[in-house]
């Protein structure tokens, strides 16, 4: 593989392609990721959007994009990507489009669509080896509709539909594992709070063909309950507590890019957010905090065993 153009923070793109003044909340971790992805991919990108918060990026007559945009529906953005990709290929073969008129096709989707009603379209796009990037911003709930529980909501989080003490009894769906089980060209986790890592991964994805996943954790001040200014700090804590592993799947193998050492206790992360406040107030919920810690410990133990 060729060497990355992003070696240090000063190499990060400063082109700032995405316009400002969008309807996204201040401190939106999802928007942060989209900004950087766009800067690395460039203007000849078409975003195929599934219903979610980001749908409100383009509101008539404004768009923050210098390239193209197609809003589809909640369930079928990958099929929209299929149609555009196929049509571009047909036209390139016909000679009615030149090589520099080609587009990088990127699905822009939330976790709710990705792990729920859009999963069938996503899985089928991988089956067909569709040449596209799938950018999922994971705010761990149906954010646009008021942060109800989605397939990506983590254990113990309170949401608009799991307001009971203890929060969500279930567990977060592992979208990364679903993708890698189907052998895509590439898959990576990343987040805006670690920009260098994110830039390198988008760069890698950009230069490959086939189905490519960029799964970003998207700290969401509105849905998670924290001050917008803490968005980056919370993103970093997700990595340093080991709750959000930074990893890559390439050439058929999963590689962890950063093994947090020492790993901070999960409560350092949980305490920063209103959705987990019930784990600490009025009484510490040792059982749930312990469950969350145990799941994280088990994950990293397995990683270490595999590495050994």
């Amino acid at each position: 593989m060729t060497e990355s153009q992003f070696k240090a923070a000063r190499d990060l793109p400063s082109n700032h392609l995405l316009g400002s003044g969008t309807a996204m909340c201040a401190g939106c971790g999802g928007l942060g990721a989209v900004r950087e992805v766009y800067d690395v991919l460039g203007e000849n990108t078409i975003f195929i959007n599934a219903a979610g918060c980001m749908t409100l990026l383009s509101v008539y007559p404004f768009t923050p994009f210098r390239g193209s945009w197609l809003y589809t529906a909640m369930a079928s953005a990958p099929a929209g990507a299929q149609g555009v990709r196929d049509a571009l290929d047909i036209r390139l073969a016909q000679g009615t489009l030149t090589k520099d008129e080609d587009l990088q096709v990127v699905v822009l989707t939330g976790d709710g669509s990705a792990g729920g009603m859009g999963l069938s379209a996503t899985s089928a796009a991988i089956d067909r080896q569709l040449d596209f990037i799938y950018l999922c911003y994971d705010n761990e709930g149906y954010g646009n509709t008021g942060q109800q529980t989605s397939a990506a909501t983590p254990h113990g989080a309170r949401t608009a539909t799991d307001p009971q003490a203890g929060g969500l009894p279930g567990r977060k769906k592992d979208l990364f594992a679903i993708w890698t089980a189907n052998r895509p060209a590439y898959a990576a986790t990343a987040l805006a709070a670690e920009p260098l890592d994110l830039a390198r991964k988008i760069e890698t994805a950009r230069d490959l063909t086939g189905p490519r996943l960029i799964l970003t954790l998207a700290p969401c001040p509105t849905g998670w309950g924290f001050e917008p200014a803490r968005s980056v700090e919370i993103g970093r804590l997700a990595v340093r507590t080991g709750i959000f592993p930074l990893k890559e799947y390439i050439d058929g193998r999963v590689v962890h890019n950063r093994i947090p050492h020492p790993r901070l206790p999960v409560e350092d992360y949980l305490k920063t957010q209103q959705r987990f406040a019930h784990l600490f107030e009025p009484r510490r919920d040792e059982k749930r905090i312990g469950e969350i810690q145990a799941a994280v410990d088990a994950y990293w133990q397995e990683v270490e065993e595999n590495n050994a």
Binding site: Y60, L70, T72, A75, Q82, D86, I90, A121
Partner: protein, 415 residues
């Protein structure tokens, strides 16, 4: 030009081939599968240059179709029944995208109960989607309708998807003689895909289907879609005039059969209307002035042509091959609204439901309908809507119910 025997499904595949489609996103459903299988064979045998891709659902299939048409390729697809409804969200969506493409619907009754046989509740559920609708009665019409549909859809003032409907079984699997246009004449009628400035391509940014805030913008775009659909009336007139010149076959928006001097008109759509034609001949033989009015184009609704066909008649019977529970026949409502306010509108306008789930409509039933209309004209009283259903069908049904009950009782005993 070649004359050959084709099923309705093969005719649909030929229509796509003669239209030189670039792209076919597909998903199988009975009775549509023969269409996509035929095209895939032609592609494999190098007889057709087209990219075909199997999607995992009709919802995705329609999304891919709309997205590809937005990127500037001639797109064709096909479905039926449950599939059309599964994709319903995207029918409205792609009409809003203002993309030209042709979708075949092979009509089949809707679940529940699940059936394979035809009626029109599927296609009529898409009535208000913004997609235009052509309703075929013969295999010849299927081939021709597809060529005409692309001509209309690709007009800049229209740019809407067109659904070409053919009935499952009675047309899809029925062989009829079809005159196939040759490639050159077909290409003269339907030139290469007409590109649009808003298509996706690098270096020319475009945003499609962006959100709007407020009813003002929303109403504007929705009404624009309506105006585009209405513009299809003239575009259709122009396309069918050219078609007649090149191929000698006429496609008025409303087909009228022995209707000029008719006192009573039947109104029907689709292939079952050929049964009505036969009945009209028999009624004429018996001395009754009866005719048939068959809308070929249902969206946009050619109101002026429909009025011209029905105004001044003594009585009308609308025979709906669909059922809107809690309302009755869907076409009946459409015809009524078109006639309202005309000074010489028919005194009697009767409603019948028939042909549900492929149930046949017999000649004697058309005789009965004509007699009902005459009685209504004479008495000035319109009878309630009627379901075409015979005593012997009811007897058979009762027998099946008896069997079903016996089984249910048997299960209870066993448990």
């Amino acid at each position: 030009m070649t004359r050959t025997l084709l099923t309705g499904n093969a005719a649909a595949a030929w229509g796509a081939r003669l239209a030189r489609i670039d792209y076919l996103p597909a998903f199988p459903i009975t009775p549509q599968t023969e269409i996509i299988e035929t095209v895939s064979r032609w592609i494999a045998d190098d007889e057709m240059r087209c990219r075909m891709v199997m999607l995992e659902s009709e919802h995705s299939m329609l999304t891919a179709a709309g997205a590809a048409a937005s990127t500037g390729v001639r797109t064709f697809t096909a479905t039926s029944s449950q599939g059309l409804l599964y994709g319903m969200e995207m029918l409205y969506t792609i009409a809003g995208w203002r993309v030209p493409l042709v979708l075949i619907n092979v009509s089949r009754g809707l679940s529940a109960p699940i059936t394979l046989e035809p009626d029109h509740n599927d296609i009529l559920a898409a009535r208000d989607s913004g997609c235009l609708q052509f309703h075929c009665a013969t295999c010849q019409e299927v081939v021709d309708a597809i060529l005409i549909a692309y001509r209309v859809a690709e007009q800049p003032q229209v740019r809407l998807p067109v659904i070409v409907n053919l009935d499952g079984f009675s047309l899809s699997f029925t062989r009829e003689p079809v005159s196939l246009p040759d490639d050159e004449t077909a290409a003269r009628f339907l030139p290469a895909f007409r590109h649009d400035a808003g298509e996706f391509r690098g270096g020319r940014p475009a945003s499609k289907a962006v959100a709007v805030i407020g009813g003002g913008a929303y109403s504007y775009f929705r009404y624009e879609t309506h105006l585009a659909a209405m513009a299809a009336i003239d575009a259709y007139g122009e396309a069918t005039r050219d078609f007649e010149q090149l191929f000698g076959r006429r496609y008025p928006s409303i087909e009228c059969y022995r209707n000029d001097d008719a006192e009573i008109s039947f109104v029907m759509i689709g292939s079952f209307a050929t049964k009505a034609k036969e009945a009209v001949d028999r009624l004429r033989d018996a001395g009754h002035k009866v005719g048939l009015v068959r809308p070929f184009m249902l969206r946009p609704l050619p109101e002026a042509d429909l009025r011209a066909a029905l105004d001044g008649k003594a009585g009308i019977a609308v025979i709906d091959q669909n059922l809107a529970p809690g309302r009755g026949g869907i076409l009946h409502g459409e015809v009524t609204s078109v006639l309202y306010g005309l000074k010489t509108r028919p005194a009697a306008l009767l409603s019948y439901i028939g042909g549900l789930g492929g149930r046949d409509i017999g000649v004697e039933e058309f005789f009965q309908i004509a007699a009902d209309v005459r009685a209504a004209i004479a008495s000035g009283a319109t009878p309630a809507p009627r379901l075409l259903y015979t005593q012997s069908e009811l007897t058979d049904m009762r027998k099946m119910q008896a069997v079903a009950h016996v089984e249910a009782a048997g299960e209870e005993l066993a448990s």
